[in-house]
């Protein structure tokens, strides 16, 4: 799940970068996604954690870096979503949106971490060192801040939104943030139980096991949610439905409709793939189809091609009003 989240978020980062560079799309969320990728990279999905942590001194600084990355990423997602949903910039004047608040949050996480008795790299750093008050405070503050940020993002993502792609994207992010918030609260409960030594071992074990699927499931959903806008943008830009329909119609009807030779038909299919205006090509098929019905009524259209043509035809028919309503019609003689 962590690996899936990492690769999805990396793909989202690359696609959003492309849209920003190529088409001048908004650069909001780029920072959040980039830092999120860095945070997930630090979980050892590509390079083992031990090697990364060794480069940082071999005393679990990687844990701090990862947690700061996650916090910063969620902070930036929150800023992006507030920017999208707010009518004006007045929300920026609130303390919780000021850079100072972010710096204070990072400091509140970092200071207790630095106060611990450092131990060698451990893949279970928090569970093994939760008896240390600084580690408990460090992890508790981190999870607390993350839960607050996640709830804040969740709340704004559930506001009414006119745009369908934005609505779907933010709802998926909201679902992810809900899981992150639950995971954070659950982790605080687990760490508290461990630190003050309450609850049965099976209860603690359940809490421990629940964290990863909740937290990384939330990260995965958030990554998917942030990946929806680039997919929609690419879909629109590339006119994928029209392109697919044009390729299909050229492949199935090109020879019959235009009398193409085999090589011209292959070239026609290739041109359909790269057509600048696939809808113009579809229009030609719609016209040609009716021409054939008039002039060559004996020829039949394969069923599936006919259904694609009908769908395209309905679209073009819908764009033209009733002729009688727009044209001065000559009185019958």
């Amino acid at each position: 799940m962590i690996a899936a989240a990492f690769w999805i978020l990396a793909a989202v980062l690359v696609s959003r970068l492309y849209f920003v560079v190529r088409w001048g799309a908004s650069s909001a969320f780029l920072g959040a996604i980039g830092i999120g990728v860095l945070g997930l990279f630090s979980t050892g999905v590509v390079v083992p954690e031990a090697i990364l942590d060794a480069a940082l001194g071999g005393v679990n600084f990687l844990h701090l870096v990862r947690n700061l990355c996650v916090t910063a990423a969620v902070w930036l997602i929150r800023e992006g979503i507030f920017a999208a949903y707010s009518r004006d910039e007045s929300y920026r004047s609130r303390f919780s949106h000021r850079p100072l608040a972010a710096v204070l949050g990072a400091t509140a996480i970092t200071v207790p971490f630095l106060c611990q008795q450092f131990v060698p790299t451990s893949l279970s750093f928090v569970p093994e060192n939760i008896h240390q008050l600084p580690v408990f405070v460090y992890a508790g503050i981190y999870m607390g801040i993350l839960a607050l940020l996640a709830v804040s993002v969740l709340r704004i993502c559930l506001r009414p939104q006119e745009s369908l792609p934005v609505r779907v994207s933010s709802r998926v992010v909201a679902a992810g943030m809900a899981l992150v918030a639950v995971a954070s609260a659950e982790e605080i409960a687990y760490m508290s139980a461990m630190h003050i030594d309450v609850g049965s071992s099976s209860f603690r074990q359940v809490l421990y096991v629940l964290f990863s699927p909740l937290f990384y499931g939330g990260v995965l959903l958030t990554s998917l949610g942030l990946g929806i806008p680039p997919i929609v943008k690419a879909w629109r830009r590339l006119q994928l439905w029209d392109r697919a329909a044009l390729v299909f119609l050229t492949a199935t009807l090109g020879k019959a409709y235009w009398g193409l030779s085999h090589s011209a038909w292959i070239a026609g299919v290739m041109r359909s793939v790269w057509a600048k205006h696939p809808s113009a090509g579809l229009y030609e098929y719609v016209i040609r189809s009716s021409d054939h019905k008039i002039a060559l009524s004996g020829r039949s259209t394969p069923q599936l091609s006919g259904r694609v043509l009908d769908a395209v035809q309905a679209r073009f028919d819908g764009g033209v009003g009733s002729l009688e309503s727009v044209l001065p019609v000559k009185a019958p003689q």
């Binding site: 969320f29 745009s163 934005v166 806008p229 113009a280 016209i287 035809q313 073009f316 002729l323």
Partner: protein, 158 residues
């Protein structure tokens, strides 16, 4: 002149609104034509076998006959006939048409000229130019208005 350029140039002279409908286009063509246009549904009997549309130029008005079919297709037939008018094919009734049996009774007669859109004969230069312009006009008619992105859509990168 290259057909694509010709099509672009002719459309540019029409001064159409941003997203015109068929009546906007007819008004613009009437302005160029200098006569009123009337439209009537044709039949195989008065159009001829395999002929889908016809423009009859009379001294007082233009008559466009179209065969009834799917809505977009019928509009395209009308666009083809309007294209003949815009391309100045008036007065050269059989110009470029490859004579088929169904054209035998068509010609310039008593100041009346005819242009047809046939579908089962090869298109010659005049017909090809009219058809090309018809596709260009159709592209203008079917253009989807560009919807301005909302603030949320811009931020989300749409």
């Amino acid at each position: 002149m290259e057909q694509a350029t010709l099509t672009t140039d002719v459309i540019a002279t029409l001064n159409l609104p941003a997203y015109p409908d068929l009546s906007d286009l007819v008004n613009a063509v009437e302005g160029k034509y200098g006569k009123r246009l009337v439209f009537e549904e044709g039949t195989v009997d008065n159009l001829g076998e395999g002929v889908t549309g016809q423009w009859i130029d009379t001294p007082s008005q233009g008559i466009v006959r179209y065969l009834r079919g799917a809505r977009a297709w019928t509009a395209h037939v009308v666009l083809h006939e309007l294209s003949h008018i815009l391309l100045g094919h008036k007065g050269k009734p059989l110009d470029g048409l490859i004579a088929g049996s169904f054209f035998s009774g068509i010609g310039k007669r008593n100041g009346v000229s005819w242009m047809c859109r046939a579908v089962d004969v090869p298109l010659d230069e005049a017909e090809a130019a009219a058809e090309n312009l018809a596709f260009g006009l159709a592209r203008v008619l079917h253009a989807t208005p560009v919807k301005e992105a909302t603030k949320a859509e811009r931020v989300f990168g749409l």
